[in-house]
Each structure stands twice: as structure tokens, then as C-alpha cells.
Subunit: 341 residues, 4 copies
Amino acid sequence: MLQFQCDYLQGCAPEILRRLENTNSQCFVGYGEDPVSASAIAKIRSFVGSDDADVWFVTGGTQANQLVIDAMLQPYEGVVSTTAGHVNVHESGAIEFTGHKVMTLPAHDGKMCAGELKKMMQTFYADGTYEHQVFPGMVYISHPTEYGTLYTKDELTALSQVCREYHLPLYVDGARLGYGLASRHTDVTVRDLYQLVDAFYIGGTKCGSLFGEAIVFTKNNTPRRFFTRRKQHGALLAKGWLLGIQFDELFTDGLYMKLAANAIDQAEYMKKEIAAKGYDFLLDSPTNQQFVILDNEKMHQLEKDVIFSVWEPVDETHTAVRFATSWATTKDQVDQLLALL
Amino acid sequence: MLQFQCDYLQGCAPEILRRLENTNSQCFVGYGEDPVSASAIAKIRSFVGSDDADVWFVTGGTQANQLVIDAMLQPYEGVVSTTAGHVNVHESGAIEFTGHKVMTLPAHDGKMCAGELKKMMQTFYADGTYEHQVFPGMVYISHPTEYGTLYTKDELTALSQVCREYHLPLYVDGARLGYGLASRHTDVTVRDLYQLVDAFYIGGTKCGSLFGEAIVFTKNNTPRRFFTRRKQHGALLAKGWLLGIQFDELFTDGLYMKLAANAIDQAEYMKKEIAAKGYDFLLDSPTNQQFVILDNEKMHQLEKDVIFSVWEPVDETHTAVRFATSWATTKDQVDQLLALL
Amino acid sequence: MLQFQCDYLQGCAPEILRRLENTNSQCFVGYGEDPVSASAIAKIRSFVGSDDADVWFVTGGTQANQLVIDAMLQPYEGVVSTTAGHVNVHESGAIEFTGHKVMTLPAHDGKMCAGELKKMMQTFYADGTYEHQVFPGMVYISHPTEYGTLYTKDELTALSQVCREYHLPLYVDGARLGYGLASRHTDVTVRDLYQLVDAFYIGGTKCGSLFGEAIVFTKNNTPRRFFTRRKQHGALLAKGWLLGIQFDELFTDGLYMKLAANAIDQAEYMKKEIAAKGYDFLLDSPTNQQFVILDNEKMHQLEKDVIFSVWEPVDETHTAVRFATSWATTKDQVDQLLALL
Amino acid sequence: MLQFQCDYLQGCAPEILRRLENTNSQCFVGYGEDPVSASAIAKIRSFVGSDDADVWFVTGGTQANQLVIDAMLQPYEGVVSTTAGHVNVHESGAIEFTGHKVMTLPAHDGKMCAGELKKMMQTFYADGTYEHQVFPGMVYISHPTEYGTLYTKDELTALSQVCREYHLPLYVDGARLGYGLASRHTDVTVRDLYQLVDAFYIGGTKCGSLFGEAIVFTKNNTPRRFFTRRKQHGALLAKGWLLGIQFDELFTDGLYMKLAANAIDQAEYMKKEIAAKGYDFLLDSPTNQQFVILDNEKMHQLEKDVIFSVWEPVDETHTAVRFATSWATTKDQVDQLLALL
């Protein structure tokens, strides 16, 4: 059975496994206060281009979002997301669980529009009853988005400006950040991102590690007692060096970007060939998720040999499905998929 | 200065004040366990037509909504509301504060559509990832709605059926319930309401009491330890008999409905006369809130003599404003307003 | 039946009822933004001796405690209370409901010891694992305490100093503040209190109003967006002027202290006479709550004619019971009680 | 530097690493719905002796405690723990964060006394004001305790009986369960535990896995929508098979108990030899944590060569310190420690 349903189907880059082996009998202090974690943090600082980057590791994306958003918001504030945002749809209410409203704006191919954000803020403060409402307290976007799309540097800059104007921290869910940075169709570097946003996380789980995400605060703006907040959230790994090891390897010799590049190569190849076969796409994705429109008969036939995500109905007889490549996808796998299409 | 900005501008029905005076030096046990509260509950049971009605008093509407919704939902569930629902807009995130998402459907003149609710539920359970989402756990509507509109008995029945099909308790915010029941254009009685819904509250604050709302559970479905939940929410009044006294008076000799009828009489008179002057309305409201479209110049001129709610812009040069009548509004006040229009 | 079980058995001072009547048909803006509330706040500022006092009204004591503590704490902090503190025992977990731990110290006749607080803080920060614990974030005491006792000025000063040393806001639950200030055995004035603490509330419910407590922040230290927090907690009364009216009356012509003085007069009289009859007291209370030790037979006999609080067993055959006087207690009532003892 | 400060200093059993390698390029479905997780669950069912055992994996102990306790409690309930309980002391308020009070009983060498629990429950329900309090809703104990001690079967049975009498689920924190089961001084088997309690977790992090705990519900009593609750808590690992692999290995060929036995062997050896040197112990621990009383000078000298936990002062000149062995501790390491003592 071919599997293209997501980008977290397999273990991790072999370099990580090897390092786990080599360090397995070594003793480390717990809770991330070990030297390997320190080394990983130093490498991430170099990657993002700032010695000020404050880096923290957690085990998963929902955990990262819940922790960062809860810690950055005041209790009377909510987080602004698109309707398609992962925090709004696929986290079982993890944000509301911590007391905060997810306030939504429309998603345009998954993206938030700076103008609409500005309008929302203007309308909010123009309303005489705003003290009876939830204060928009920060902005959540994903890059790449849930639809595989990417903000341009201009779009991100525009969002950043509105956020600064209204003192809204801008937070980026980077579950697939590697794939965004490795895209052939992006003008946003990780250093741009670092400059333009207040916090983001560098996704490991979907980009080559066994698990783990690296949260980055960019402006000496780490919420107070963040170590304790992490524990309070149940998000502090006892053997923190396991996260350190993984990110230390990912950020040695450019491994993170190399892994990402493979996913992009396979996605671009798949995209070109699928288009050549005459299929339409739900939208033009420049990253590792490709949304292809299949007629339903074809889709059901394909389900016998391939696992993929059924995304959304397009019309009575057609459905958009998602094929995701990853750091581990091989050309051979893509070729098998293409042969079946 | 004429005041039409809302329906909670003045104290209470004189009968209530008199009763407060007459009982002022009497000793009562606290927390609502007094005989006057028991009497009020008995009268409310008679009003709603069921001896099974379980009635609890709290001091305000947001408090009632927060308490009931939090107590009726499982922790992994959210409440479905229209986008215009008070809990979604004007309660400072009181629902999310208790850990629950407010899940929205479109508002049609303030109302939820049963068909859209059914569609939402079908889509939810058809989505293979629903366990990663917030479960829709109950439905919140207001009657009258925030736009003064009313559900017909058919509409309410349809909603009720969808709710039962999906095991969603249906809860009605009755902040202005009296005005809804007293409307000349409704086929919904309080007994209908009682049969069709799982919980509602009978608004006192906006309908003749100093403060207070009577929460009614209709199906022996009171959440466990509701007394304690009320305390835990900071919503248990020490001198509970003050609420008992107010509702006992409101439900003696039909006072509640008489007070409501006055608001409706004044609103209908106002509506007819304003229409006669050629003004348009944002929508056709059958209750005590009337939404009139003014050109902006006229609106600013009127602001010198009248306080009213600026509701929403209609176009570049026109704005919808709200004039609310109440149990205490006099024909003389309406006439003054009409003279100014 | 004589009733001495608590101090919230009756309505309110007649002055308040009269004012409610006189203003009943007057229109007010809601949510406490009315001129009467402003007047009440001005009078409270004068009472506490500071123009900087920031005053907010809520409807009850648990609500006040929950709101103030939640708003003053950081999310990773807990509140330090004695084991006997109302927030620790009798609020159904209202503090934990908002996410905060109640951290306890022993109660000495209901009071917290400054030395023990200091020791707690030293131990906390000396523990290498403190980042894995709850940070003590503020201190809650009641004055009078749940046992009717009072802090001396020295004791309060000592507590205040430890609090300042460790940056712990000191908050005083003043449900019975009037009775504490009116005690014949106190050297703490309200102005002392104001200087020594960071927040407190002036109890209305137990001291002459129908309901209502006046929260006072003393050091320009009101939590941000406190208005909205109040709404979010379901603690914002729509007709806020009702609270304004009550406190405006209580702080006109010294009414608040006059009402308190009555409770103290009756309590002192009761205490002297009960002692003269040879009864022992659980402790020496200088305020309106008297804790008398009865043999159980006597207690059960008394229960036929008097309602009182059964406080705690003293030994196999004796029980401490509480008789509470209030602003409304008459000498005649006390005499009847004395006759029965 | 010798390290005896805790039992989570090193990676994992080599069998686990090897399995991670062998499966690294295999594709799995996420969220624990893979066949390896199913296999691990089957093996755990066999280990605990019941096909009904409902098993769920999470990544850490605080996470397990927070999730289970929050999911098993009603919102108005608290969890009863000893004062020494991990949830009461070392989890940064993770329980209160979810809205629940931790209600404490004294710790007797770390253990809860069934008689004291029963007394607590009797007192609670005998108090006329219990509806104003937090309801004790479940019981949390650890086995081994934070002091390395173990409940006897009689003690556990007595606790279990009180719990059943009062309908309190009994939950056991088994962070070090392996070491408890492998102790030479216990009469409690895992099957006993399974029969006597309502939920527990089998610790992996401290007992041979890289990370991970296996939560077991014993009586078809899994909280509703536990999958979703886990997600809502940020506690659902995307690559769930990583937990499955680890527990599948731990429960293959008795590995879990073999690893535990090593820690016990080393601890017993250490204990015997340290006693032979004339040192006293804080208490008699039958598991892998040994609490030795050192004079402070000796302690400071030892700190140059060994990392250990400074537990608590015993008197002016002596301190109890903790030496923990683990699945990975070697006799050579213990010998080095002994040589230094």
C-alpha cells in the first residue's frame, strides 16, 4: 500500500537514530538543561540569524500552539486565526481549554489577509462595546498553511505591520516550516521570518525528527516563567536531551534543509507529472502538500492502492484529495503513484 | 435627555420594591433555601406548565449563560451559536473562560437555521478527523434574538428535532423572554418553549426586576451538583431570597406578562409611527427592540436629545440604530422620540 | 425562632431601601458608569483616605475573591491562605476553577503568621526544584478572620513587610470589614489597612446592604482590563447603579460604621453576659461572631428555639457554636438568647 | 562525575533502540492507531492479567496525571493526595490548571492512610456546608511513593475499600511501578493492583524507555472521548507508534521486569553496604531510591564527585540525600559511590 496521506509516516533521519545510539548510555541532566540542548539552541540561533533567539523544545505541534498562545495572551485576550487555522479546527479546542477564544478571519487559500486583519482591529476599537468583548490579543498564522500555501515576503510584512500597529504579537505555526523555506517559489527566508514575527516554531515531527518542535521567541519577549508554564501544561519532557539531540542533528551540516529539499523535489515532480496527465488542482501549492481534484470514481479506485487524505468535495462528482510528500519520500514511490493515476 | 438605548435603564416594578420593604426586617435562611424562593419556583412551574421544572436563580444573563453552558457541556464539547449570539460577541469570552469553544453558524435576522445546524452535524461526523475537533455539545439560541426577532413554533420545533437527533441539549437565552412571549406576532407560548427545549432562562433584569434571571431545566436534566457549580462560578447570591422575592412578585397575578405587554405596546406604536414617517427598518422586529435606518446627519442631530444604540452602518450615509422600549417606557416618552424624528 | 446563625439574615439599612425607591423610575446608564456609582466611589476614597483608591463593585464575596485573585495572579502562581481561609474551605474551589492553587499556612485563631509566611518563601526559593512548583504569587487574609479575630496593626505590618520583600500582593477579604473596624479591641484603622495592603474589599452583604462588595485597589495596581475581566467572570451587574446606590448610602453620614457599631455593641453585650453565666469561649473574638462552648445536651435543647452555627466539636461532650450579631440585631433578641442559655 | 540524582539519566534499553532502527523506514498511521501500539496494548493486558484493560500512551508523568485526573473528575470535584504527592508538589500546579483542587492528607513515609481518608470523607459529608466546598472526587497515590516506599497489599486493599464505599476512583501514579513490583519486600503484584484500583499508569520514562507512560483504566471506566481529551490537553503524540514500539519491547520477554530487577539489585546492594558503613537512613525504602543521612561536611565533600538529590535537612548538621539507581545502573557505579562514602 502506497502511503501519501501525511508527512509524519516514518521515523526520522538516520543521523538522529545514530546519535541516539551513540549517546544512549551517557548520563544527562534532565528537563533540557543538558549540553546537547544548549548546542542545538546555539545552532538554531545561527540558523535564524540571531543570538537573541530564545529557543524551547516541546514534543508536538498542538502542544506548542497551546503553550505559546496561552503564555503570550493575557487572560482577557483571544487569538486571531483564519477559519482554516489548525488551532481553530484540528486541535480539539486546546486553545479554548486554556480559556482563550479563537477569533476568525477568512482564509484565502489558507492565508490571512493583512487588510482584513486591520479592518477587524479598526472595527473592534470603533465599537463602543469593545470592553464587553474578547480583546484580539495576538495573531496565529501557519507557514506553510494548512493548504500548503506560503505567504510572500510582502504579505508577511504587511501582516507584521498591522500586528505592530495594534501591539499584537504575530506567531507562526511552523509545523512544516522546512518545506516552506525549501520551496522553489518563496521569497521568505528564515531570517526574514525571524525579523517579522514575535514567535514561531520550527517543526521537527513533520520534517525529519521522531518528534519535537523548537519554539523560538524573537524579541526578548519570552513569557515570564516559561519553563514553569511548560511544566504546568504537562509539556516538559523529563529527558529533554532527546529533543536536544534531534534538533542538534537537524541543524548540523544543513540536514534540516536537505531533508526539506527532498520533500519539495518529490512534490514538484509529482505536481508536474500529475498536471501533465490533465488533472486539475484545488490550488497552486508550492510546498509538499498537493491538492489534486479527482473524479469520485477514480478516487475510489485509487483508494485500493494508495492511502491519501480526502480533503473536500469540489462538486457532485469530484473531490479534492491531498498527496503529501516528506523528507523520506522516494522518487520510486512517486512514480508508483503516478502510474496509478 | 430621552433614553432608548436599552431595556435595563430603570429599577423595577413597584410591586417588587414594596415587597422588599415589607420583608426587609424579616430573617431568611441564605442561598435560596428560603420559603419565598420556594414560592417563586412554584409559580414559575405553574407559568411554564410543568411540575418538573427545575428552577435556579442567578443575578445576571452572562452569569446564567456561562453557568448553564459550562455545566451542561462535557469538557471536550463546545456550544453552537449563531455568529450574532450574545455568548459569541458580548460576553468577553465568558464561555471560553470555562474551557469551551463557541462554534458558529450564520445568523438569519439573528436566528439559527435548523437545516444549517443539521448540515453542520452531518459534516462533523462525516469528517474522518472529528476526534481531533471540538464536539458540538449543545445549542444556544436567544428568543427574542439579539435583533429582536422571534423563532416561529415551526422553526423552534425544527431546531429541537435536530438537537434531539444529535443529542444536543437546546438552551434558550431568555434575557428578553417576556417581550418574546408578549409579542403580537408569535405563535410560541412558554409551554411550547418548555416542551421543545432542554434549558432556558426567564430574564428578570430586562423585564421588570432589579436584577435576576430564573434558569429552568426542563427534563429532569439538571447538571449534577448544580448548587455547588453555582458557588464555584461565584454565582451564588448569599441573600438568595432577594431573587426569590423578585420572581415571586413577577409571577404573581401575571405581573411578568403585564410588564412585557407594556414594552410591546410602546414598541408597536413606535414602529407604526416611525414607518409612517417614511423611515426604513433594518429588519422587521416583532418585539421591544426596533432597528431604524437613519441618515447619518439625522442620527447625529438626534444624538443631542436621545440616547440610543448605534447598531451598524448600512451604507456610506446611513446607519441602523436601535430604540428599545421596556416594561417602564411611557407613551409620552415615545411621543417625544417621535417628535424628534 | 431566634436567628443568630450568620450576619446576612435580613435585607438592608432602611436608608438604602428609601434611596432605591426614590431613584426607581430614574434612568441610569448601565455597568456602573452612572453618576451614583461615581459618587459612591468618591465617598469610599474619602473613607479610606486616598484619592488614588480604585474602587469596583461586585455582588458577592466569593465573586470578589475569585475575580481579584485570578486577576492579580500570573497563571503560574498560587495564592497563600491559612488553612481556615474562606477561599480554601468554603468557596467550592472557585479559586482552583480559575487555574490557581490555594497554598496553605497554619491558622492561628484564624490568622496567618508573618514569620511562617517568610519561612515559606525562604524555603520555596531555597529549593532547587522551585521552577517545578507553583509560585506563591499573592497572600490572602481575612480581617476579621473566619473566627472573628483581628490582626493587630503590628501583625498586619509584619505581614505587609514580608509581602513587599517577596513582591507578593497582600489582599484582604473584608466581608465583615465594618465589624473589624468598629471593634473596641483593634488598633487598625481603614487608613492603616489601605496603606498596608494591595487590595481589599469592603463587605456590604454582611454589613448593611442588600448585596454588594466594594473592591479597592490601593496602589495604582488595578489589573489590566479589570472591567472586562469582571464581565468574563460573569461578575458585571447590568444595573450597576444598584451597587452604587447601596454604597453611596452606606458611606453617607457614617452609616457604614454606625451599622457596624450596632453589631459590635450587641456582640460585646452578649459576650459579657454569656461569660457571666460561666460559659467558656473557643477563643476571644473582638467582633460580631462569638464562639461559645456548649455541652451537647444544652446545645440540642437550644436548637429548639435558636438557629446558630454548629462550629466544631471541642471534646466528646462539648461543641463550639457560633452566634453572630449583625447591623440589624436588637438588644431584645440578644436578651432572648441570653434567657435561653 | 558519578550520577545518582535520579532514575532518568540515560536513554533506553538497547532492545528499544534496535526496534526503532528496524522500523525507521516503515510507514505507520498516526495517533496510536498503528498495529505496533495494538500489540503493545495486548501485551500490557496480558501483563496486568485482564483483557478488559484499556491502555493509552502519553509521553510523560505530569502529562499522564493531569490528563487522567482532569478526565476522571467532575468539574466540581478535587483529587485527594498526600501532602507529599507529586501532583501536590512538583507539577507546577498542573492539576489546578485544569480547574481542580488538590486536597491533602498527611503523608506517612509518603503513604496515605486509609483510616485518615475515611475520616476525611465522614467529616466532609457530616458538615452541613459541604455543598459550599470542593467534593473529594478521586484519590491519587503513588506506588512506589515519592519516598520509595510501597503500600502493602493490606494497605492498598483498605484504601480501595474506602474508595469504593465513597465512590472515589483510586488512581495510582506508577512512574516507578516497575521498581515497586520488582521490590524484594512487596506483596503487591500488578494483578493485585489491577484489581484494587480504577486507573494507574505504568511508568516507562524512569523504567527503561526513552519516554512514555502507559495509562491503564481497569473497569471499563475510561472517561468518554478520552482520545479527544488527550488531544485537547496537547498530549497526543503524532507518531504514536513510537510509544507503541517502546512498550511493545518493554513487555516482550519480561524486559520491563528485568530492567526493574537490576535497579532493585543495585539498590539493595547499595543499601546493605551503606548501612554496613554505619550510615543511617531517613526511612526504610524497599525500592530504587535510598535516602541516606549524611553529616553536612561529608555531603559537601561528596558533591565534588557525585551528583545526588539533597532531599531535606534532618537537623542542624545532617541532611538526608537521595541516591537513585535505575535499570541502567551498574555494580561498578555503586562500588565507586561506596568507595567515596
